[in-house]
Amino acid sequence: MKKLPKILRIKTVGKQLLTCAAALLFATASQAQNIKIGVLATLDGPLALLGQDAMRGTELALEEFKYQIGSRKIEIIKESSNGKPDVAVAKAKKLIEQDRVDFLIGPLSGSEGLAIKEYAKSVPTKTFINGTSAAQELTLRDPAPNMYRFTGDGAQWQAGLGAYAYDVKKYKRVVLISEDYSFPYSQVAGFAAEFCPRGGKIVEKFWVPLGTKDFSSVIAKIPSNIDAIYIIVSGADAVNFLTQYQQSGGKLPMIGGTPSVDRNVLSVKGAFRKSTLGVITAGPISESNEDPLWQNLVKAYQKKFPDGLGSPSFAALTYYVSTKAALTALAKVDGDLSADHKQFRAALQNIRMDTPMGFVSLDANRQGIVDNFVSEVAERPDGSLYLKLVGRAKGVNQTLGVAPETFTARGPASRDNPSCP
């Protein structure tokens, strides 16, 4: 019989198998000690820049804990979605079922969050911590018992803006141009809750699909006797709209939703940037906030990501706060994820901490009670744009200070609700 090549002979094969088995055993043994965290953000699609920044925020939080809780190392597994609910659920399933993560941080987009909430209900043994996703319905109605949101929802993120627009800026009639999905509905609800009772009118609403590239037909239809445009678009859509509006010669002042003039948009180079001066907006960030926690975060961001956006965007901040809350709770129970995360979830519910976006605590629906910042886009001496703090609302809860029954009786936020023509 011809001699087999060396690699196939029994002795060699046996040795190889033994080493493989030993390595696997060792690997699994050390793996069992690791805490696996899945991070889901939109690294694809119109919100890709926000997703990239979100990952940066998570990394900043993990660095503070040195990727370790007690004696256990933290392993993060990143996945990308593209803003669409079904892709987000597919990626979440992959993280939970294949990568066997202990808990998931994410998603980023509003509608993704609603789909992941339904998925979370079918996986009661794992915990889900929201990233940025800011649709009201995630926690307001029928929440998932294992899903936690430490950041505000879209309505909370507009607290103070409606009042500022009416009282200070004297805008009485506005027109709305917005992306057509759950997150902007929540934002309008928050804005209208203050703007409409004061006598403000949202004269007309234009809803465009997420990912719209061409706003010319909408810009042409803007009526003439209005004071401002209330614009809620994110990422690439915001840049497109602002450029096209400026090119069409539009001069109306604007009120921006949280993502409309955020750090992502302000850091893009283009002639439209001058037209963003004076735009008022509200959200979890104000870049001139003197809070040392915020200033330290900015410095850490600039140091670790010199090719980032120059300052964390709201995506980075929300993912930072969410990750930090999760890790703080985990550290409190010393990494104990047994009994279906019972201790971990109790620790999460009891989180009360100071963050770069103010003091954060959770309500009974596992929704964050947060501060909100009203800002105006201003120019620094060196020509760069930033969000200047002009107002702050403290301790905004999900019902915006209104009694819960009254608030939920208004019905879910949608295109026509609320409405004050």
């Binding site: 690294l43 694809d44 990239q52 990143k78 996945e79 990308s80 669409k84 609910p85 079904d86 892709v87 659920v89 597919a90 399933k93 992959k94 079922e97 294949q98 509608s111 609603l114 789909a115 339904e118 998925y119 209900k121 079918s122 029928d142 057509d180 999905y181 759950s182 809803w207 699909p209 997420l210 949608s414 295109r415």
Partner: protein
């Protein structure tokens, strides 16, 4: 229709292995790879059927599957509180009827078009349907779609669900695949192939070509509808993202990757696509994984116009 020799020898063992997959493979592989691949493979099969039997390429098969999916979601209990909840057999039947009717409508509208024009027309139908569904809040719930679809009783227990839904999808794929193979041997199948080869001769023989085109699209609609029902149950949700242009193109990619001339190619293409979709972010790049998908598609097309099945038949012929 001649099966490639690979399939003939390996058919029974492979079918058996796939049936036993829940016990052989880790759950992630059965549930997230194979089940997804087979469910989407059924939709891809509807396209392969159209391409191989009738020589027609349609870019709205996923939309037709989505019609079944939305009908099913609206006729089941769901988180959006829309529609009317009916029992699952009634809901599934209505969904199948909806997709078959939609397929027939597409066939009726496009009976005069061929090749590129058919592609454009079906693409236009897909885009119209997408924007309609995305902007309609009253019935379709707009961008969010309908999530939290309640599954039928036999699928809802989380401990048995993974196996049962896999067997449901696998069984349906095997049944539909066998039906399409059988159709190739029937007079109807022969007529459709004749229509593919030379419609004018068929017309001269007295067959009404228009009727057969509509019949072809109707059958494809039924197959796609079955795929749509299974994907909706699998995902427990449906949204405009499931039926947008990239989803329809993905079906075309699956059909071409696997081999557009044989029905088995649909399932092979779907499997390859799902594998690339799931593993390329890890293996290639978190942010550039679409590049791998596109490049694979181009490479397979370049080296083997008949996709993976072309590779197989060339390999077995040698």
């Amino acid at each position: 229709m001649r099966l490639p020799s690979l399939t003939k020898h390996a058919a029974v063992p492979i079918c058996l292995l796939l049936a036993l997959a829940p016990w052989i493979l880790p759950e992630f592989w059965t549930l997230n790879i194979l089940a997804r691949a087979f469910a989407l493979g059924i939709v891809a099969l509807s396209l392969t059927f159209l391409v191989s039997f009738c020589g027609m390429v349609s870019l709205c098969q996923m939309t037709i599957a989505g019609a079944a999916g939305y009908t099913l979601a609206l006729f089941s209990l769901n988180a959006a509180g829309l529609g009317v909840a009916l029992t699952w057999p009634v809901a599934a039947t209505c969904a199948l009827i909806a997709s078959t009717a939609f397929g027939a409508a597409v066939g009726w509208v496009s009976y005069r078009s061929s090749e590129v024009y058919l592609l454009m027309l079906t693409l236009a139908i897909a885009v119209c349907a997408l924007f309609f569904v995305q902007q309609n809040m009253e019935i379709f719930n707009g961008f969010d779609g309908i999530s939290g679809v309640v599954l039928p009783g036999f699928l809802s227990d989380p401990s048995t669900r993974p196996h049962r839904i896999y067997w449901l999808i696998y069984g349906s794929s095997a049944a539909v695949f066998a039906a399409v193979i059988y159709l190739g041997y029937t007079p109807l199948g022969m007529t459709l192939k004749a229509m593919r080869d030379n419609p004018r001769r068929l017309y001269a023989l007295g067959y009404n070509v228009r009727t057969y085109r509509i019949i072809a699209f109707t059958i494809a609609g039924a197959i796609a509808g079955l795929g749509g029902i299974l994907t909706t149950w699998y995902n427990a949700q449906i949204s405009p993202g499931t039926i947008d242009v990239s989803a329809n193109v993905a079906i075309l990619v699956m059909c071409v990757l696997g081999g557009q001339k044989q029905p088995l190619g649909a399932f092979l293409g779907a499997l390859l696509y799902i594998l690339l979709d799931v593993f390329s972010p890890e293996l290639f790049s978190r942010e550039r994984f679409n590049l791998l998908l596109g490049t694979s598609f181009l490479l397979v097309l370049y080296f083997s116009p008949n996709g993976l099945m072309g590779f197989c038949s060339r390999w077995t012929r040698r």
